[in-house]
């Protein structure tokens, strides 16, 4: 019985990697017949580019995993992303920093990250102090923070190109792009936090059974606050990495990012109810989505089909998960 349990668990944890493998094989084979381009799908440079393109959503999705393991959700990350981007680009032009030269870059990064942490922290504080569900708090914040984005610069884009920064963002160290390094580093650090520290253990415990966690002496409120600060910080980090290269923020940027991030997290097997989930699987989920995007484009499918396919896969994953998790045939269907 135990071995069978381990077996199922093993399948479930490996599922996302198996899915990625299937995608790779499918697109390589299908691409051989359908693609107009000469290069192979599994071209090394192509894969490196894929990693880079998945970084903005990926960094947010890692934070979202922590939030969802807690049993919470954050719908405001897209707006936080845009606001942090604006703060970074705009602060580089502030007169008080005029004398700093290129030292303005770390300062503006710091300001952007601080913005993200404060916005996240505000959500966390409201969740902690008022007891209103995180879904509602962050739903409100999604509107509110977007309002702040618009208030900053109206409906105009905020643009500032700093070539030193663009060079840094486009640089490749050991062949891997800057954005990818950030994504990999964030994944590694948060993975360590969630698997090797007390904070990580508490996150699972709270998500699994909040009452029990409170009775065990875990201070749930401050714990939530820390995680919301973390996801705000990561949303800002994602913005900082992305806008360093592009140099221009539209006030609508980041819309629907929360939904993409949640999709990646759920594909990776994390439950909405909390208490389970893995950072590495979320990493897999992010890669799987980006692979699907690129792959469908590669075999010549319309970009429109991507949304359709991803939506249906998300539902299929949920369905399969339900089938695998059903405790027994005789279970009461309520």
């Amino acid at each position: 019985m135990t071995s069978q349990k381990n077996y199922t668990k093993y399948i479930k944890q490996g599922a996302i990697w198996g899915f990625i493998l299937v995608e790779l094989i499918f697109f390589s084979v299908a691409g051989h017949f359908l693609s107009l381009s000469d290069t192979a799908f599994m071209d090394f440079d192509n894969m490196l580019l894929l990693l880079k393109q998945s970084a903005p959503i990926g960094i947010i999705a890692i934070g979202m995993t922590v939030i969802m393991i807690n049993g919470n959700i954050d719908l405001s990350v897209g707006a936080t992303f845009a606001l942090a981007g604006i703060v970074m680009l705009d602060s580089m032009t502030w007169p008080i920093f005029a004398g700093l030269g290129n030292w303005v870059i770390p300062v503006s990064w710091l300001l952007a990250l601080l913005t993200g942490a404060i916005l996240g922290g505000l959500n966390g504080l409201i969740v902690w102090k008022t007891g209103v569900d995180a879904f509602i708090v962050t739903l409100g914040a999604m509107l509110g923070y977007r309002g702040l984005v618009f208030m900053y610069n109206g409906e105009n884009p905020t643009s500032h190109l700093n070539w030193t920064l663009v060079d840094f963002a486009e640089a490749q160290f050991l062949g891997i792009h800057t954005a990818s390094w950030f994504f990999l580093a964030v994944t590694a650090i948060i993975w360590l936090v969630m698997t090797r520290t007390v904070h990580g253990r508490n996150a699972y415990a709270i998500g699994d059974n909040r009452e029990a966690a409170i009775n065990a002496g875990i201070r749930v409120g401050p714990h939530f606050l820390r995680n919301f600060i973390l996801i705000g910080f990561l949303a800002a980090l994602s913005a900082v990495v992305f806008y360093s290269e592009s140099g221009s923020v539209n006030p609508n940027d980041g819309e629907l990012y929360e939904l993409w991030a949640i999709t990646a997290v759920v594909l990776g097997g994390t439950k909405l109810a909390g208490g389970s989930g893995s950072i590495l699987s979320t990493f897999g989920g992010v890669i799987a989505i980006q692979l699907l995007r690129k792959g469908l484009g590669y075999i010549g499918a319309d970009t429109e089909t991507v949304n359709l396919v991803i939506g249906l896969i998300l539902i299929a994953v949920l369905f399969l998960d339900r089938q695998l998790n059903r405790k027994g045939r005789g279970e009461l269907r309520i």
């Binding site: 409201i126 309002g147 749930v220 939506g311 309520i334």
Partner: protein, 324 residues
């Protein structure tokens, strides 16, 4: 009135707080700007809230049944695009029922997955948000959809017409609101929706077919979405593929503002209408006060959190959360 204690006031505020806040808000804005309470302004606000409102009516059923529907925004884009396309291809007489059938099929798919297969509604409808958007783009080829002859079509009657001097979107919104209010409050079906959302296990043990009830709430939701799509298409006679984008969360904000609990089992059609009108009048009031449209986002944020906070604070009898 002698026994009217502080506690009674608290209970009254908790029960009708949103209505009282609405009245206070209206009076406040009316004092600042006379134009705010002019009849044509009020009609204008209700008219522009009608599309959001019609969708919110359906989502109210879903939320009371204990589920969520995040797919309504892209579903409305779908309905709008489809009905505009069919208008020129097979004419509005056949096109409108065909659009309703297609939209109801999407709602039925939601209901099947969530009601009968008991999958998590948040994720299913999130997936459907993406899938239906893809479907719409595939249908339209990514292009905007326009009616060829905009001058000579009676199709504009749903969005631009008047019935007894009242703009038709308002008539549709009001008619649907009354019908659904009766359905929810006065019929056995309505009671079952509350029962399923309030305590699904107890409802099942009482012999209520939970799966079928949830299925029907999604069908109602998609019917309302189709109606909203019809109004939208008829009003503009042309549309982008993204016309309903972001609508799902705005609708949810209106439903929550009306006092429905996301846990299910509470809320009414009347309260949702109030929630929709509050959002509409806030937007209008701020615009009349000379503020940009995006200021309403921030105001809505504060109002939603305050409304929900005060609601649950009244229920638990203390302001601050018991979270350790």
């Amino acid at each position: 009135m002698a026994n009217f204690t502080r506690k009674d006031i608290g209970v009254l505020l908790a029960r009708q707080g949103i209505l009282i806040a609405f009245v206070v808000f209206m009076i406040g804005f009316a004092l600042v700007n006379q134009r705010f309470v002019a009849p044509d302004n009020i009609l204008g606000v209700i008219r522009s809230s009608a599309i959001l409102g019609v969708i919110a009516l359906g989502v109210t059923f879903v939320v009371i049944g204990g589920n969520l529907d995040l797919s309504v925004g892209s579903m409305m884009s779908f309905s709008t695009i489809v009905v505009l396309d069919l208008h020129d291809k097979i004419g509005p007489v056949l096109g409108i029922p065909a659009m309703y059938a297609m939209t109801l099929a999407l709602g039925a798919f939601n209901g099947l997955l969530i009601g009968y297969l008991r999958l998590n509604s948040l994720i299913v409808t999130l997936g459907m948000l993406s899938a239906i958007y893809g479907l719409t783009l595939t249908y339209s080829g990514g292009k905007n959809m326009d009616i060829a002859d905009k001058e000579h079509t009676w199709f504009s009657v749903f969005g631009q017409g008047h019935i007894l001097g009242v703009p038709s979107p308002i008539v549709i919104f009001a008619g649907l609101a009354i019908a659904l209010a009766v359905l929810l409050a006065k019929t056995p079906f309505g009671r079952k929706v509350y029962a399923v959302g309030g305590n699904g296990v107890a409802a099942t043990f009482s012999g209520i077919p939970r799966a079928r009830i949830v299925f029907l709430t999604y069908l109602i939701s998609s019917f309302c979405v189709a109606t909203a799509g019809l109004i939208q298409a008829s009003r503009s006679l042309g549309s982008q593929n993204t016309v309903g984008q972001g609508m799902e969360l705005e609708v949810l904000a209106a439903v929550i503002l009306g006092g429905a609990s996301l846990l299910g089992g509470s809320g009414t059609v009347f309260k949702t209408v109030i929630g929709v009108l509050i959002l509409g009048f806030i937007q209008n009031g701020l615009l009349l006060a000379g503020l940009q449209f995006y200021v309403q986002y921030v105001v809505t944020w504060i109002i939603i959190i305050l409304a929900v906070w005060l609601d649950i604070a009244a229920k638990r009898g203390r302001l601050w959360s018991p979270i350790a």
